[in-house]
C-alpha cells in the first residue's frame, strides 16, 4: 500500500504512454485531471492485488470515446463518480476499490480522478496490461467476469446502465450511446470480487508504468540510452532502429487504420520494418517476415528521447526504435487470441511469438 501524489503521475503517465502501444489517447491531459483532483481532494492510496480482501467489490473506471472531443470538452471531473454511483445503485452495494481497465494511454489516469473524490483505493493492476480499443478486450472476460452491468455517464448528468448478453454487446451499445452523449463518456464496469483479481487482472501494472516513466526520464537525464533502458525494464526485444520512411492512413469503422514503413539506421542499415496499426500498433513485419503481432505490445519510441510515438504522431523522418514486448500470457490462450489476436483485427496471420 502506498500513497500517490501528483508528482508520481508524471512518470506514470509517461510510462502509460509507452504501454499504450501508439493508441489509448495521450495521457497528458488525463494526468492533469488526476493531478488536479489529488491536489483538491488529497492523495490516492494504491494497493497491491494481494492486499485486497476476498469479498471486496472492485470496479473498473475508464473513459470511452474520441480523445479529440474529450481534449476539447474536458470533463467536469464528476463523470466517473456519477457512473460509479449509478452502477452501485444497480448492484445494491458500494464499491470498495477502483481499478484501471487499461494501463496504456489516457485510461491509466482515469481511476485516479474518481479515487481522489471518493477516497477509494486504486488496485495496482489493470484488465489488459496494455491498451486495446474495445470494451470486450479484457482479461477478466476469460474467467467469466462480464463487462456488464456497465454504467455510462456524460458531462450533462445523463447515465445509463447496460445489462447485456455478451461483452461484445456491451461494447456495441455503449459506443453507440457514447456518440449520442457527445462522443466522450465515463464508464464504470467489469465488477470483480477481491478473490477474482489474481486471475482476472495483470498485476502491478501501475507500478510498472511509473517505473518505466522514471527509467526513461533518468536515462535521458544521464545522457544514456532511454530506449535500451525501457527495453530492459519491459523484457522487450528491439525489432528495429530506423526512421519513418512512409505513412499511409485511412479510416473505416471508427478505426484509424494504416501502415508505416521504417528504414533501418546504424546497425539496422539495409533492413526495413512495416508497421500496421488500427489506433494501436498491431503488427510488425521486418524484411517481409512477421516478427511481432498483437496481443504482444509493439511500442514505438523516439530513439533519442524514449518518448512514445502514437499512431497519429508517426510521420516521415522521425527517428524511432520499435520494441516488441511480451503480453500477459493469458492473452495467448485460445480465448485471449480470439478477443485480441491478429485475426480479430483482420490480419490474415496467427500470433507469432517474439524472437528473443
Amino acid at each position: 500500500m502506498r500513497e500517490i501524489h501528483p508528482e508520481h503521475l508524471d512518470d506514470m503517465a509517461r510510462g502509460a504512454g509507452i504501454l499504450g502501444t501508439g493508441g489509448g489517447g495521450d495521457p497528458y491531459v488525463g494526468k492533469l485531471l488526476a493531478q488536479h483532483a489529488i491536489r483538491e481532494h488529497g492523495p490516492v492510496t494504491v494497493v497491491d492485488i494481494h492486499e485486497v480482501p476476498p469479498d471486496a467489490t472492485v470496479v473498473a473506471i475508464s473513459g470511452m470515446g474520441a480523445p479529440t472531443v474529450s481534449l476539447e470538452k474536458i470533463p467536469a471531473g464528476t463523470e466517473e463518480v456519477t457512473a460509479l454511483r449509478a452502477l452501485e445503485r444497480f448492484l445494491g452495494r458500494q464499491a470498495t476499490h477502483l481499478v484501471p481497465i487499461e494501463v496504456g494511454g489516457l485510461n491509466s489516469m482515469t481511476p485516479f480522478i474518481a479515487a481522489a473524490r471518493t477516497r477509494l483505493p486504486v488496485v495496482d493492476g489493470d484488465a489488459m496490461g496494455r491498451a486495446f480499443p474495445e470494451a470486450q478486450m479484457v482479461l477478466p472476460g476469460l474467467i467469466g467476469v462480464t463487462v456488464a452491468p456497465m454504467a455510462v455517464a456524460d458531462d450533462k448528468g445523463n447515465t445509463l446502465v447496460l445489462e447485456t448478453v455478451s461483452n461484445l454487446w456491451s461494447e456495441r451499445l455503449a459506443r453507440t450511446a457514447c456518440v449520442e452523449m457527445g462522443c466522450s463518456v465515463s464508464c464504470a464496469d467489469t465488477v470483480m470480487r477481491g478473490d477474482q483479481l489474481a486471475d482476472g487482472l495483470v498485476p502491478a501494472t501501475l507500478t510498472l508504468a511509473e517505473d518505466l516513466g522514471r527509467t526513461v526520464r533518468e536515462a535521458r537525464a544521464a545522457h544514456g540510452d532511454p530506449v535500451a533502458a525501457a527495453a530492459r525494464l519491459l523484457g522487450g526485444v528491439r525489432l528495429l532502429t530506423g526512421k519513418v520512411a512512409d505513412v499511409q492512413r485511412r479510416t473505416s469503422g471508427g478505426f484509424a487504420r494504416g501502415q508505416a514503413r521504417l528504414d533501418g539506421l546504424g546497425g539496422d542499415d539495409g533492413r526495413s520494418l512495416e508497421l500496421s496499426f488500427q489506433n494501436e500498433h498491431l503488427l510488425a513485419r521486418r524484411d517481409g517476415e512477421i516478427v511481432a503481432t498483437t496481443p504482444d505490445l509493439i511500442c514505438v519510441l523516439d530513439t533519442d528521447s524514449g518518448e512514445p510515438v502514437t499512431t497519429e504522431g508517426l510521420r516521415y523522418g522521425l527517428r524511432v526504435t520499435v520494441l516488441g514486448v511480451p503480453c500477459d500470457p493469458r492473452w495467448l490462450t485460445p480465448g485471449g487470441l480470439e478477443l485480441a489476436g491478429p485475426r480479430y483485427f483482420g490480419y490474415d496471420t496467427d500470433h507469432v511469438s517474439l524472437n528473443r
Binding site: 476539447e72 474536458i74 479510416t251 516521415y316
Partner: protein
C-alpha cells in the same frame, strides 16, 4: 508596389516588390536592439524613394517579451464550459512566475458546446458580468475561452460584449476561437498569452503606423505564414508569434517558386530548419512558449548551431527530419549567412541558394497574402450532408481572412482538410479550412 520588412535580432531587411520577378529594391541595415519600430524606420530610410501603398512587417520578439515578462498585461481568465470542463482549472501547470505575472483572476462559467447543436449549454451571462465586475481595476485584459468555440464563437463574442459593458471599451479582450485549433487547455493558454501581449503589441502597432505613415496599408506576419492588418494584430497579438520565421519560409517559396521544400534559414549563430507544405509553413505539434503548451499555429522548426565540427552533420539530419513525405524535397537556403551552407549535404538531392535569399524574410512579408482559418467537426449520417458542412467551414475561413484585413472580393479558400476522429463507430470528420487573399486597400 509592396514593401516588406523583417526585423531580425541583428539585421533588419527590406525589399520592394512590383509585378516583376525580381525585387525592385532591397536593403539591409543593423537592427536597433529592443526597438523594432526604429529598426523599421531605418530600413525604410535605406530604400530608394518609392510610393508606400502597402508595407508588411515580419514580427519577431513577441516570444521574448513573454520570456522576459516585459510589459505584460494582467489578464482575467474566463472559461465558458461549465458544468463540464471543470476538472482542470485555468493556468493549472503553468510556471509559477509567469502565472503570477499574468493572472488577475480566473472563473469558469456555464456555457460552451459540443460537436452538434444539442450539446450546447446557454451562456450564464450574469456570471460573466459578475466576473468582470470583480476584476475592475485589477485586469488590463480578459482572455475568453469557450468549449468548442473554434466550431462556433458566438458565446465568446457575447461574453466579450458583456465585459465591455462592465469594464468599458478600453479593456482588451482576446477570444480563443480566433486563435487556435481544438484542444481546450492549449487554446486557453494561447488566449491568455495573447491577452498578456496586448500592451507591447499595441505600442508596436502605434509605432509602426507612425513610422510608416498614415496612408499605407500596414500589415504584419503571422505564425501561419499569412498576414494581418494592425487592427487584427491589436485584437490578436499572439497570432504574430512565429511570424518572423513564417515570413522567411514564405520568402523562400516566393524566391524559388517552390511550394513544397525544406528551408534552412542561416543566421548569425544558428540555422533554423523548417518545411513548406503547399506554400505555407508546416505547423508545429506540441508547441510550447515560456514553458506553457500552446495551440498557436507556428512553424515547426529545428535549430542547429552554425559552427562546430558536427554542424554539417546536424544540419543534414535536421533537413532529413523536416522532409514532410517520402519524396525528396529540395532544400532552399536563405538568410544572412546562407553562403556558409555547403552546396552539397549528405542525403539532400538538391540545394538552392536563391538570389536575394539574404532578405527572404522581407520578401516573404511583401509577397504573403492576408489569411484566415476555420474548423468544424461533423458526423456523417443521413441527417447531415458533408457538403453543407464544407460550405460552412469555407465561409467561416473566408470571413476570418476578411477580419484579418483581406479584400472580401478577392479572398479564396485554398484548402479544406478532412481528418477522421478515431475511436468512434460513425465516421466523424474534423474539417479545417484556410482562406487567403490580397489586403483590402486602405
Amino acid at each position: 508596389m509592396i514593401t516588406g520588412i523583417e526585423v531580425g535580432p541583428t539585421h533588419t531587411d527590406a525589399a520592394v516588390l512590383t509585378d516583376a520577378a525580381v525585387p525592385w529594391a532591397t536593403a539591409k541595415v543593423p537592427s536597433v536592439p529592443g526597438d523594432p519600430v526604429a529598426s523599421v524606420r531605418h530600413a525604410l530610410a535605406a530604400l530608394p524613394e518609392h510610393p508606400r501603398t502597402q508595407v508588411a512587417v515580419g514580427l519577431r520578439g513577441l516570444a521574448q517579451a513573454l520570456d522576459e515578462r516585459r510589459g505584460l498585461a494582467k489578464v482575467g481568465v474566463l472559461r465558458i464550459g461549465g458544468p463540464a470542463a471543470q476538472a482542470v482549472r485555468p493556468l493549472f501547470g503553468w510556471p509559477a512566475g509567469l502565472r503570477d505575472a499574468v493572472c488577475a483572476g480566473t472563473a469558469i462559467v456555464e456555457g460552451g458546446g459540443g460537436f452538434d447543436a444539442a450539446e450546447w449549454t446557454p451562456l450564464d451571462t450574469g456570471a460573466v458580468a459578475a466576473f468582470a465586475a470583480g476584476l475592475a481595476s485589477r485586469a488590463d485584459a480578459i482572455a475568453i475561452t469557450g468549449v468548442f468555440s473554434p466550431v462556433d464563437g458566438a458565446q465568446e463574442r457575447q461574453a466579450a460584449d458583456i465585459i465591455h459593458r462592465e469594464l468599458g471599451d478600453a479593456v482588451h479582450v482576446s477570444l480563443s476561437g480566433e486563435l487556435g485549433p481544438l484542444g481546450l487547455l492549449e487554446r486557453e493558454n494561447t488566449t491568455v498569452l495573447d491577452a498578456a501581449l496586448h500592451r507591447p503589441t499595441a505600442d508596436l502597432a502605434d509605432g509602426l503606423r507612425a513610422a510608416i505613415g498614415g496612408t499605407a496599408t500596414v500589415l504584419v506576419t503571422r505564425g501561419d505564414g499569412t498576414l494581418m492588418g494592425l487592427d487584427h494584430l491589436r485584437r490578436h497579438p499572439g497570432l504574430g508569434l512565429g511570424g518572423g520565421l513564417a515570413g522567411t519560409l514564405r520568402g523562400a517559396a516566393t524566391l524559388t517558386g517552390l511550394a513544397d521544400a525544406v528551408v534552412a534559414d542561416a543566421g548569425e549563430h544558428r540555422v533554423r530548419v523548417a518545411a513548406l507544405t503547399a506554400g505555407f509553413p508546416q505547423q508545429a505539434l506540441d508547441a510550447q512558449i515560456s514553458g506553457v503548451p500552446v495551440g498557436f499555429w507556428m512553424p515547426d522548426v529545428i535549430r542547429v548551431a552554425r559552427g562546430g565540427p558536427r554542424a554539417h552533420h546536424d544540419l543534414a539530419e535536421a533537413v532529413d527530419r523536416m522532409q514532410p513525405a517520402a519524396g525528396r524535397l529540395p532544400l532552399i537556403v536563405v538568410g544572412g549567412a546562407a553562403a556558409d551552407v555547403p552546396a552539397a549535404l549528405p542525403g539532400v538531392s538538391e540545394i538552392r541558394h536563391p538570389e536575394h535569399g539574404a532578405v527572404a524574410g522581407a520578401i516573404g512579408a511583401a509577397s504573403s497574402p492576408v489569411g484566415g482559418q476555420a474548423e468544424r467537426i461533423v458526423r456523417l449520417d443521413p441527417r447531415t450532408g458533408l457538403q453543407a458542412a464544407l460550405d460552412e467551414v469555407r465561409e467561416e475561413a473566408r470571413a476570418s481572412a476578411v477580419r484579418a484585413g483581406a479584400d472580401p472580393r478577392r479572398v479564396q479558400v485554398s484548402e479544406v482538410t478532412q481528418t477522421p476522429l478515431p475511436y468512434l463507430p460513425s465516421v466523424t470528420l474534423r474539417l479545417h479550412a484556410r482562406a487567403s487573399g490580397p489586403a483590402h486597400p486602405l
